[in-house]
Amino acid sequence: MNLATALKAQETPRIVAAAPAGPPAISLRGVEKVYRTDRIETVALQSLNLEVGSGEFLSIMGPSGCGKSTLLNVMGLLDRPSNGEVSLGGRVVSSYRDKDLAALRNKEIGFVFQSFHLINDLTVVDNVELPLLYRTMSGRERRRLALEALDRVSLSSRVHHFPTQLSGGQQQRVAVARAIVGKPRLLLADEPTGNLDSAMGDEIIGILTELNERDGATVVMVTHDERQAAKTQRIVRLFDGRQVH
């Protein structure tokens, strides 16, 4: 079987056996993403069909440049597919307006990034409050939820520190707290352990696992680390923008 045949065989959508009934947390059908400049056309994702069940913990793996982060961006509604359909909780959202996509990102999706993306000029608690700024709620309620999220990641003693005063692991825990503060149903983590040593990496994976198991959050994690990926329920492998396994 040549590679093309093998890839075609893998295009069939996979439904997680353990997924509970009801619409999948996120579903991609025939998704393609092409970046075009004046001279070059780069295909980042092609003919991708993927369903992530509600409450699933899934890893996306593949070599650099295979489209992992692009896939995560499309799943996280940060990027629109060139073709195909994206559904979130059973709703087709590909054609939503920017404002509606922003509202969905705010309420239903939490992001964790490899390089943390904390705002260094804000304290830990102010960083965690950030997603709640785009919701209608009182400052007191916002602060209460932020402190609660920081407590979940065991950072209650660091609320008034600035990110630069924290270790890498602590910064990633702040980022996780910020991702979960709005109680999203879907957590997307782009190489969350990529900038951490293995002990800190384990700690972060432990928190994500706990969020998945205890709160039932759906977690999709891009990683290069086979050891961390093995801790998740399913691994999706990409190669040249296609799902291969």
Partner: protein, 400 residues
């Protein structure tokens, strides 16, 4: 959200210091210019009290410094006035100093019993002055032959403004104006015989100061070098030349120069307006420089914060939220700048360094300056804010 904006701006105070300094200086410059403009507009809106149309100012050079007229000079001056009056186009003739729109003024002051100093402008005019300039007498009367018999005082006609400053709500007619010397050695005191609605010698842009007119007699020894001639409506400019020739024939050794008051008014107003236009131009150029600087700094700011903008978009900020963020931050910086500027600006109505500018003028100037500096910051933030909304979140998060 407002707290978030102020916290962010405060925590980035080093970055924002330059912006705040620029806005602070802009605010103070705007305050100065706007307050001057408000003061000028207020002056313009006040009644002048003088009807200058169809009045010719005849400047008389009596060929030599004469602080006093000799009886011969007075006689000649009366003949000159009579010659003018005899012309068919002439409706009235008056004499006095300083004439309207001549940019010369005579200021004097005295202390009230409560110690408050009153400063006012003064002039000396003949009885016909009110008719020639159509002055409106609101209380009492203007000078007349009746005053020839005045004993123990000198008659004076003052404006309502001066009457209010000196006598408050009391009727000023018959009251003395000015302070007496302790030893009683001074000249006879001035006594108010009439009050004018307004009298602003140099027109709409003249300092709105109280005015007191003293009586000048045609047969007196007090000299004057201006004569006002009211002519019939529709009298052409050619009459001025004829008038001068007529007067010249009467007083061959004296020189006469005639100019309509409307022309003098234009010259006087130009003297006031030109510096204001220059000031406004400089301020406008300064505001443009500030605006370009602000746009540049904000643009750079947006570029430097591309990843943060991407993060905010990922966390649920719509394009409109990003726009509000950029504009909100510059509004917060402006608030700091205006707050500091207010500490300086609001000293002026309290300390009142210029007694001719009222506290209300400063406060109106202050309010307009605040609005303008916020508007300036808002307009400058629009394009950088628009650029920020164009940042694609996925690309922004990868931005190095």
């Amino acid at each position: 959200m407002i707290r978030h904006l102020f916290v962010l701006v405060w925590n980035r105070k080093r970055t924002n210091a330059l912006l705040a300094a620029e806005l602070f200086v802009s605010f103070l410059v705007l305050f100065g210019v706007v307050t001057t403009a408000v003061y000028t507009a207020r002056k313009w809106s006040l009644p002048v009290g003088v009807v200058y149309r169809d009045v010719i100012d005849v400047e008389i050079d009596t060929q030599g410094e004469r602080r006093k007229f000799t009886p011969a000079d007075s006689e000649l001056f009366r003949q000159v006035a009579a010659a003018a009056r005899a012309l068919p186009e002439v409706e009235g003739v008056a004499a006095g100093n300083p004439a309207p729109f001549t940019q010369s003024s005579w200021r004097t002051d005295f202390r009230l019993e409560n110690g408050r100093q009153v400063r006012y402008a003064a002039g000396a005019v003949t009885d016909e002055w009110a008719d020639v300039l159509s002055l409106q007498v609101t209380r009492g009367r203007f000078f007349s032959r009746e005053d020839d018999a005045a004993k123990g005082f000198r008659p004076m006609v003052i404006t309502e403004q001066l009457a209010h400053e000196v006598f408050g709500d009391a009727d000023p007619i018959g009251k003395e104006l000015g302070e007496r010397a302790p030893d009683g050695s001074e000249e006879e005191p001035y006594k108010v015989v009439g009050v004018l609605a307004a009298y602003r010698q140099n027109g709409e842009l003249d300092e709105p100061i109280g005015y007191g007119l003293q009586r000048l007699r045609w047969d007196g020894e007090r000299s004057t070098d201006h004569m006002l001639v009211r002519v019939r409506p529709g009298t052409t400019a050619a009459f001025e030349e004829r008038l001068v020739k007529t007067l010249q024939n009467v007083a061959k050794d004296w020189a006469f120069r005639a100019q309509p008051l409307s022309a003098s008014r234009e010259v006087t107003n130009r003297l006031y307006v030109v510096p204001l236009i220059l000031l406004g131009g400089i301020a406008g150029f300064f505001a443009l420089m500030v605006a370009l600087g602000l746009i540049g700094v904000l643009w750079q700011n947006v570029t430097q914060r591309t990843r943060e903008i991407g993060l905010r978009r990922a966390k649920g900020a719509a394009a409109a939220n990003v726009r509000r963020q950029v504009i909100g931050e510059i509004a917060a910086v402006t608030t700091f700048a205006v707050g500091l500027g207010s500490v300086f600006a609001l000293q002026l109505p309290i300390l009142a360094p210029f007694d001719f500018v009222s506290g209300g003028t400063y406060l109106v100037g202050y309010a307009i300056s605040v609005v303008l500096v916020y508007a300036l910051a808002f307009v400058c933030a629009l394009y950088p804010a628009h650029l920020a909304t164009r940042v694609a979140p996925a690309e922004a998060l990868r931005y190095e």
